[in-house]
C-alpha cells in the first residue's frame, strides 16, 4: 500500500518547528542543587519563607516518597527519570515583583510571545472587555505575575501564588491542602507534596460568582528542571468559578518532568469549572525529548448540589499520565469530564477520569474523544464506581476513538463498578477511522485533504470543544489542526 508509506513519510517529515512555543528564554536563574534530599526540601521551604508546619509536611511526604515505587500500570513506555539528576527549584534571580515593571523584561517578552496578556491594560483593550481573564503566570518554579488582584479582592476572591497563600492565609491552606489528594496518594503526587515550589491558590467566598475567568499559565524554561506546581481551588458555599490552565515548554532533546497536583474543593451548591489546554512540547518525530506529564488532578464535591467540571484538550507532552477525577461526596452533586486527547508522532497518552459516586443522587458524565495519528498510542482509562450508599447514582460515558493511519493505536480501558441497584450506568465506546466518503464529499466541495480531515475531526470533538470558554475553544481548535498536520497521506 503506497498510501501507507506516504503517510509514514509525511509523519516523518513533520518538523519539530511546528511546535511554535519551543523557544527558550535566556535569563539568570537561581537553582537548588541538583537532586533530591532533605536539604533541598529545606532550601525550597526557606526560599519560600514557609512556616514550620509546611516544612514538616514536605519532609513527611519526602520520607513516604522514598518508600514508594513509580507506577507501571499505565500503557506508556519511557526511560525512567533519574530523580537525582534534575533541579527541583529554579527561579528567576530578580524576584518578588511588586508591580509588572519589576518583572524581568525577558519574562514579560516570553509571555507576550505566548500570547498571554500579563498587562491588565492590554487585556482591557481586548475585543470583548467583558470577558477579562485574570492570569497567574508560573515560570519554572515561581509565580511571576498575578493580574487583576485588586479587582478580585474587592469581590472577596483570593487569587494568588500558593507560596504567598501559605504565608498570608495559613489556616485556609492548612485546612484544605492535601485533603483531596492525600500526601501519599501516588508516587508523583507524593513527590509533588515534598518539592512543589509554586502554583495558584484560589478561594471564592460564599455566594460569590467570580467576576472573571481565572487563569494560570505554566511555562517550563530551564533545562533539567522539573516543574512541580500545586494548585488549590476552594469554592465556598454557593459560589462559582471558571478556571483555565495553559502550558508550554521549550524544545529540548532531553525529557523534562512535570508532576503537578491540582486539588479542587466545592462546598454546598458551589461550582468549579476547570479547563486545560495542555500543549507541552511533545518531543520530535522520533520521540526524542518532550515533557513527561505525570499529573494528579482531583476534585471533591464535598457539599450537597455541588458541581465540578473538568475539560481538557491534550495535544502536547511526550508522555501523558493524567486522570482528572471527581469524588461525588455531597448528595445531588455532579461531576463532568470532557476530554480531547490528540496524539501524533511518537506521543503516548494514557488519560481518563474517575467518577467516584458516594452521595445520593449523584450524577456524572464522561465524554472522551481520542485521536491517534502517526505512530502514537492513545489510551482512555477510566473508573466509574457507585458506593452502596450512592442511591440513585447516574453515569453516562461515551468514549470514541479515531485512528488516522495504521501505525498508531487506540485503546480503551474502562472500569465500571456498581454496588447498588438504583445506580444506573451507561457506557459506550467506539473506534473507527475517518470515513473516506465523508472526506471525498468535503474535497468535492473544495477542501484539501488536510482541511477535510481537520474539519471532520473538529466535528468529532465538537461536544467537548463546546464546554470550553470561547477564546480557549478557538485556540484548542487551532492546536488540534496543528498537531494533526502531516498526519494524512
Amino acid at each position: 500500500m503506497p498510501a501507507v508509506q506516504e503517510t509514514i513519510d509525511r509523519v516523518r517529515s513533520i518538523d519539530i518547528d511546528q511546535y511554535k512555543y519551543g523557544f527558550e528564554t535566556v535569563i539568570e536563574m537561581e537553582k537548588s542543587e541538583k537532586g533530591l534530599s532533605e536539604d533541598v526540601i529545606r532550601f525550597i521551604s526557606a526560599k519560600k519563607n514557609e512556616p514550620e508546619w509546611m516544612l514538616e509536611w514536605r519532609l513527611d511526604a519526602y520520607k513516604r516518597w522514598l518508600t514508594m515505587k513509580e507506577p507501571e500500570w499505565a500503557r506508556v513506555a519511557y526511560d525512567k527519570v533519574d530523580y537525582n539528576d534534575i533541579y527541583y527549584y529554579a527561579a528567576p534571580k530578580r524576584k518578588g515583583p511588586e508591580s509588572l515593571d519589576e518583572i524581568d523584561p525577558e519574562i514579560l517578552k516570553t509571555y507576550e510571545k505566548l500570547g498571554i496578556p500579563l498587562r491588565e491594560v492590554e487585556a482591557l483593550e481586548g475585543i470583548a472587555p467583558e470577558r477579562r481573564v485574570a492570569v497567574d503566570a508560573v515560570f519554572d518554579s515561581v509565580s511571576v505575575a498575578t493580574t487583576f488582584r485588586k479587582e478580585l479582592e474587592k469581590a472577596g476572591v483570593i487569587f494568588m501564588p500558593i507560596s504567598e497563600a501559605i504565608r498570608e492565609y495559613p489556616d485556609l491552606v492548612r485546612q484544605y491542602l492535601g485533603s483531596v489528594v492525600p500526601v501519599t496518594d501516588n508516587f508523583f503526587a507524593t513527590l509533588n507534596s515534598a518539592v512543589f515550589s509554586d502554583g495558584s491558590f484560589v478561594y471564592i467566598p460564599p455566594g460569590v460568582r467570580c467576576p472573571m475567568e481565572l487563569s494560570t499559565y505554566f511555562r517550563i524554561n530551564e533545562r533539567d528542571t522539573g516543574q512541580f506546581e500545586r494548585t488549590l481551588i476552594i469554592a465556598d458555599k454557593g459560589s462559582y468559578v471558571s478556571y483555565l490552565e495553559g502550558c508550554t515548554a521549550p524544545k529540548r532533546d532531553d525529557n523534562q518532568l512535570h508532576a503537578a497536583v491540582v486539588e479542587l474543593v466545592a462546598l454546598e451548591d458551589a461550582e468549579i469549572k476547570y479547563s486545560t489546554v495542555q500543549n507541552w512540547y511533545p518531543g520530535d518525530n522520533e520521540g526524542k525529548g518532550g515533557i513527561y506529564n505525570f499529573v494528579t488532578k482531583r476534585g471533591d464535591c464535598r457539599g450537597a448540589r455541588s458541581k465540578i467540571s473538568w475539560t481538557q484538550v491534550e495535544t502536547g507532552s511526550a508522555i501523558t499520565w493524567k486522570y482528572p477525577s471527581c469524588i461525588l461526596r455531597g448528595d445531588d452533586s455532579r461531576g463532568e469530564f470532557y476530554s480531547i486527547a490528540v496524539s501524533n508522532g511518537m506521543q503516548q497518552v494514557d488519560s481518563g477520569t474517575k467518577m467516584i459516586h458516594l452521595g445520593k443522587n449523584t450524577t456524572s458524565r464522561i465524554i472522551s474523544k481520542g485521536i491517534s495519528a502517526g505512530r502514537s498510542q492513545n489510551t482512555y482509562r477510566g473508573l466509574v464506581s457507585a458506593h452502596k450508599k450512592a442511591k440513585g447514582a447516574r453515569n453516562f460515558t461515551n468514549c470514541d476513538s479515531l485512528l488516522i493511519g495504521d501505525q498508531c493505536g487506540a485503546h480503551t480501558v474502562p472500569y465500571i463498578e456498581s454496588k447498588n441497584a438504583s445506580a444506573v450506568f451507561e457506557h459506550e465506546a467506539t473506534t473507527s477511522k475517518i470515513s473516506e466518503d465523508q472526506k471525498f464529499y468535503c474535497q468535492q466541495r473544495g477542501l484539501s485533504e488536510e482541511e477535510a480531515t481537520a474539519l471532520i475531526v473538529n466535528g468529532f470533538v465538537r461536544d467537548v470543544l463546546q464546554q470550553l470558554p470561547m477564546e480557549f475553544a478557538v485556540e484548542a481548535q487551532k492546536l488540534i489542526s496543528i498537531s494533526l498536520e502531516g498526519s494524512v497521506g
Binding site: 515505587k69 500500570w73 452502596k388 442511591k391 476513538s401 485512528l403 488516522i404 493511519g405 495504521d406 501505525q407 498508531c408 493505536g409 487506540a410 485503546h411 480503551t412 480501558v413 474502562p414 472500569y415 465500571i416 463498578e417 456498581s418 454496588k419 447498588n420 441497584a421 438504583s422 445506580a423 444506573v424 450506568f425 451507561e426 457506557h427 459506550e428 465506546a429 467506539t430 473506534t431 473507527s432 477511522k433
Partner: protein, 440 residues
C-alpha cells in the same frame, strides 16, 4: 514489595505438596509439560486482586485450601452420581460422562459417536503421544493464564474429539461433568476438539455437582476450527452452591470459520469462565454470549479475550447478568485488533440487571486497536429494572414479581435466543425459567 510475593498462602503450599505427591501417578506422558506448567503457576501463585486480570476475582482469598485431586470413582458411585443430573437430559446426544473429572466409559456413548466424529479418551492419547496433542493451547495468551497452567499441571482426564473435514453430524456430543463425594476434591479435565475444514459440529457441555461441598473443578476446552468449519457450543454451569469452578475455553479460528458459544451460569459459589479467541484466518465469525443469573453469595466472572490477527473478522459478544441478593457479577472483555486485522468488526456488550441493592456488578470492557480501518465498539450498562415498564405491566394486572420475571426473561433471553441447536436453546431457556421459579 518483592518479599510479599514470596509469601505463599497455605493453599499454594498445599498445591505444591499435592503436585509433588501426584507426580508419580502421572506416568510418563511426555506430550504435555506438567512440570513447566506447574513451575509457571508456582511463580505467579494463586492470583490475588493485585493481579490486574483477577482484580475482581481474588482466587488467593477464595481458595483457602488445596483440595486433593479426585480419584476415579467406582462404577456404582458414578451411576449414583449421574442418576439425578438434569443438564441437557432432554436433548438427544452422544454423551461422554465425566464423574469427578474422570471419563466413565460405562456411562458414555463411546460406541454411539456420530458418523464423522472420533473420540479418544485423553489418557490413551497421552499414553500414546497422540499427534493431535500439539493442538493444545491454541491461543498464545492462554499459556500465561495461571488457571490454565494449573489445569495442565494436574490434568487427570479428558477427551480428544476429531470431526472429519466436511462432516456435519446432526447429533451433538454432550460432555456431561458430574461431581460427587463427601469431602473436598479438585478435578482437572481437558477436552480437545478439532473441527476439520468445512465441517459443522455441535458440542454441549454441562456441569453439575453436590450442594454444600467445596469442590474445585478446573476444566479446559481447547478448540481448533478449520477453514469454513462451524463449531457450535452450548454450556451450562449448574455446579453445587459451594463449588469454586474454574473453566477455560480457547479457540483458534481459521479462515471463514464460525464459532458460536453460549454459556449459562446459575451455579457455583465462585465461578470464572475464561474465553480466549485467536482469529487466525480471514473473514471468521464469532458469536460469544453469556447469560448469568445469580442469587445469594455468588460470584460469577466471565473473562473474554478476542485477539483479531486476520482481516475481516466479525465478533459479536453479548453478556447478560442478572443479580438477585448479595452476589457479584464480573465481566472483563478485551478486543485486540492487530495491525494486520483490517476491516475487523467487533462489538462487545455487557448489560446487568440488579434486582436488589446488595448486588454488585463489575464491568471492564477493553479495546486495544492497532488497525485503522475497523469498526469496533463496546457498551456496558447496569441498573435496576425499568420502573416505567414494571408499572406498565402491573397496570395491566400482573403482580410485581411476575412482571419482574417477565422483564428478566426478556433481558436475559437475548443472550440465548441465538443458539442454533433448538434442543440446546430450549435447555438454556428451561434453566432460566427454573432459576426464576426457584427465586419465587
Amino acid at each position: 514489595m518483592a518479599d510479599v510475593t514470596n509469601l505463599r498462602s497455605p493453599a499454594e503450599a498445599g498445591l505444591s505438596k499435592l503436585f509433588e505427591s501426584s507426580r508419580k501417578a502421572f506416568a510418563s506422558d511426555q506430550a504435555i509439560s506438567r512440570e513447566e506448567a506447574f513451575r509457571f503457576f508456582e511463580a505467579t501463585g494463586l492470583p490475588s486482586r493485585r493481579v490486574e486480570a483477577f482484580k475482581y476475582t481474588d482466587l488467593r482469598a477464595a481458595i483457602t485450601e488445596a483440595a486433593p485431586p479426585a480419584e476415579a470413582p467406582s462404577e456404582d458411585a458414578a451411576r449414583a452420581a449421574v442418576a439425578g443430573v438434569k443438564g441437557f437430559a432432554e436433548v438427544e446426544a452422544a454423551r461422554l460422562t465425566f464423574v469427578n473429572g474422570h471419563l466413565v466409559a460405562a456411562l458414555s456413548d463411546l460406541d454411539r459417536i456420530p458418523e464423522g466424529v472420533t473420540v479418544a479418551p485423553l489418557n490413551e492419547a497421552l499414553a500414546q503421544g497422540d499427534a493431535r496433542l500439539k493442538l493444545l493451547a491454541p491461543v498464545e495468551q492462554v499459556r500465561e493464564n495461571p488457571i490454565y497452567q494449573l489445569n495442565t499441571a494436574f490434568l487427570a482426564d479428558g477427551a480428544l474429539i476429531s470431526v472429519a473435514p466436511g462432516a456435519k453430524p446432526r447429533t451433538p456430543v454432550h460432555l456431561r461433568f458430574v461431581g460427587t463425594g463427601a469431602t473436598a476434591f479438585s478435578t482437572a479435565t481437558r477436552v480437545l476438539v478439532e473441527v476439520g475444514a468445512g465441517a459443522e459440529f455441535f458440542l454441549l457441555e454441562s456441569h453439575e455437582g453436590p450442594a454444600g461441598l467445596t469442590y474445585q473443578p478446573n476444566d479446559a476446552l481447547d478448540v481448533h476450527i478449520g477453514e469454513e468449519a462451524a463449531f457450535r457450543h452450548t454450556r451450562l454451569n449448574r455446579e453445587g452452591d459451594a463449588a469454586i469452578a474454574l473453566s477455560t475455553l480457547s479457540v483458534r479460528l481459521d479462515a471463514r470459520a464460525q464459532l458460536e458459544t453460549v454459556n449459562l451460569v446459575t451455579g457455583a459459589k465462585l465461578s470464572r469462565h475464561q474465553i480466549y479467541l485467536h482469529v487466525a484466518g480471514a473473514d471468521a465469525n464469532a458469536v460469544v454470549n453469556g447469560a448469568t443469573l445469580l442469587g445469594h453469595g455468588q460470584l460469577a466472572d466471565s473473562t473474554l479475550l478476542a485477539d483479531h490477527a486476520a482481516t475481516g473478522g466479525v465478533g459479536r459478544e453479548m453478556f447478560k447478568t442478572v443479580i438477585d441478593g448479595d452476589s457479584t457479577g464480573v465481566f472483563q472483555g478485551k478486543i485486540i485488533v492487530r495491525q494486520v486485522a483490517q476491516q475487523t468488526d467487533g462489538k462487545m456488550k455487557s448489560d446487568c440487571l440488579l434486582l436488589t441493592d446488595d448486588g454488585q456488578m463489575m464491568n471492564k470492557p477493553e479495546l486495544e486497536i492497532f488497525a485503522d480501518d475497523v469498526a469496533c465498539g463496546h457498551g456496558a450498562t447496569c441498573g435496576a429494572p425499568d420502573e416505567d415498564l414494571l408499572f406498565y405491566l402491573m397496570a395491566r394486572g400482573l403482580p410485581r414479581a411476575t412482571a419482574e420475571s417477565l422483564l428478566v426473561q426478556a433481558f436475559i433471553g437475548e443472550a440465548v435466543e441465538t443458539v442454533t441447536h433448538e434442543g440446546a436453546r430450549d435447555a438454556l431457556i428451561g434453566g432460566i425459567e427454573a432459576w426464576l421459579a426457584a427465586r419465587g
